[in-house]
């Protein structure tokens, strides 16, 4: 069996989500190659070659793939997939954007967001905001799979010495062009890869008050997240959102501040190892999943918490 893993990268380096997808591919068994599609992406390809257990790295380095435009990259992946039994990508916004197009081009189903590999054709995946775990079996000869990264421990980023092969094929559908992006610069760890996450909700009252979380995040080396309510209210940008349709996180420590705990938010964080909830409403549903609950006014508790660290 041969599996092609689609790398998540920024052209210069490999994102941690790739390592989780490689781990899922290892659970499938057989040979694993990695496709790095990008523009001036030799840095990412070199890093991909160092991942333990990889056969070879296929590097498709062309302007058509520079911004991961789904129309172009899906044509490339469907083309390269001819030699593989499985195509696996992390369920990042890139993976979610591109992989269904790949599946449709190959006339197969996509198995989204798997959390375990039961056998070569059987997987588990959360449905209904994670309130139910479904076991599903694919009848397709070629499988297109996206992986919930928090469910698979990252494969080692070092230890491999795969060869890098250039892919000459250029697929430019000519349907879409990149205009601009607004990417938040931050020295903090990436939300989905952080070992500690501190999130604020509607109870934070405004964006300025998220500064109360920043001091704590700096001391704990934490990433900062938010509930949908806080993002909708404009306190913080969309890339902070943790939940069913936002980011899925499973850190060692998740601190929910001023978050009531709607099922859609719980879907994004309830697999965290230790959950702390700080909320002044003692009946808030977040306390039902919290290991440690503190019923308190967050404006008093947060400065005290920061000082105690």
């Amino acid at each position: 069996m041969k599996t092609l893993v689609i790398a998540e990268h920024d052209n210069t380096s490999i994102k941690p989500a790739t390592l989780n997808a490689v781990a899922a591919a290892q659970a499938l068994g057989g040979d694993i190659d990695i496709l790095v599609a990008g523009e001036n992406c030799s840095g990412a390809a070199t890093e991909a070659a160092a991942i333990a257990g990889i056969g070879k790295v296929l590097s498709a380095d062309n302007g058509a793939y520079g911004h991961q435009l789904a129309e172009n990259v899906s044509l490339l992946i469907a083309d390269v997939a001819a030699g593989y039994d499985n195509v696996v990508a992390p369920a990042t916004t890139n993976g979610k954007n591109t992989m269904p197009r790949v599946a449709a081009l190959l006339d197969v189903a996509q198995i989204s967001d798997i959390i375990s590999v039961e056998s070569a054709d059987t997987f588990t995946r959360p449905i209904y905001a994670g309130n139910v775990i479904a076991t599903v079996q694919s009848a397709d000869a070629k499988k297109v799979i996206t992986v919930r990264t928090t469910a698979f421990d990252a494969a080692p980023a070092e230890g491999g010495s795969a060869s890098v092969e250039a892919v000459a094929a250029v697929h430019d559908a000519g349907l879409s062009t990149f205009v601009s992006e607004e990417v938040a610069e931050s020295d903090r760890p990436e939300l989905t890869a952080a070992s500690v996450v501190i999130s604020g909700g509607r109870g934070m009252q405004n964006g300025d008050n998220f500064k109360l979380l920043e001091g704590i995040a700096d001391k704990l080396g934490a990433a900062i997240g938010a509930s949908r309510a806080a993002v909708d209210a404009g306190f913080v940008p969309n890339d902070y959102q943790v939940g069913q349709t936002g980011k899925i996180v499973a850190p060692d420590l998740y601190i929910a501040v001023g978050i009531s705990g709607a099922i859609q938010h719980l879907a994004g964080m309830k697999d965290s190892k230790v959950i702390v909830a700080i909320n002044k409403d003692e009946d808030a549903p977040i306390f039902q999943v919290a290991d440690y609950g503190l019923v308190a006014d967050l404006f008093a508790a947060l400065p005290e918490f920061e000082a105690a660290l």
Partner: protein
Amino acid sequence: MKALVAVKRVVDYNVKVRAKSDGSDVELNNVKMAINPFCEIAVEEAVRLKEAGTVSEIVVVSVGDKACQEQIRTALALGADRGIHVEVVGRPEPLEVAKLLKGVVAKEEPQLVILGKQSIDGDNNQTGQMLGALAGMPQGTFASEIKIDGDKLNVTREVDGGLQTLSLSLPAIVTTDLRLNEPRYASLPNIMKAKKKPLDVTTPADLGVEIKPHVTQLSVAPPPERSAGIKVEDVAQLVDKLKNEAKVIS
């Protein structure tokens, strides 16, 4: 231009769905059903484009059993002009829905197709992208803002790192994210008017699509339960527990 909006009938987002005790399926008896929230945002966006004079006609389509006509009527009450019900028994998979929608696109020739980014039952996040590939159309998924500029569509997308803006040639597909708009409520007069709007029923055979299962759901189960935690008295006790009991901070 003509806009096609796809809507899905799903369990209401406030319902906490459970697996049946025998693990055969989820419990859907006597559960409140509603239009998928992301699809509602799709309808609202089309209505706003019509109000702005950009869109001339809104066609709403749903794939499912007869009951989904209720959700088509909801969309008509929100401002869509006419409905198409593709009658299918059971639960078609995203690939089959995309093939059926491609058939509708071929007949209706819309310049813009708006769908929700995912349905909150299967959480697949696939149909819009699959339709894009099948119909050879570009896609702006997870959209938080769209602007039509001549024969181009500018879409701002919510991505992991922040926001990304793309320019797409028309006809194009948009899948909605939460921040695209805040849907209105249907007024009573509009609900009454919606009952008289045209609603055509078609079948997979009419659209030349054969429904073929690719994925079988073998069983469902509840997720692992978290054991109940404790309430701490104050911040000092919280820090102590995190350091000495959970050992997650030092």
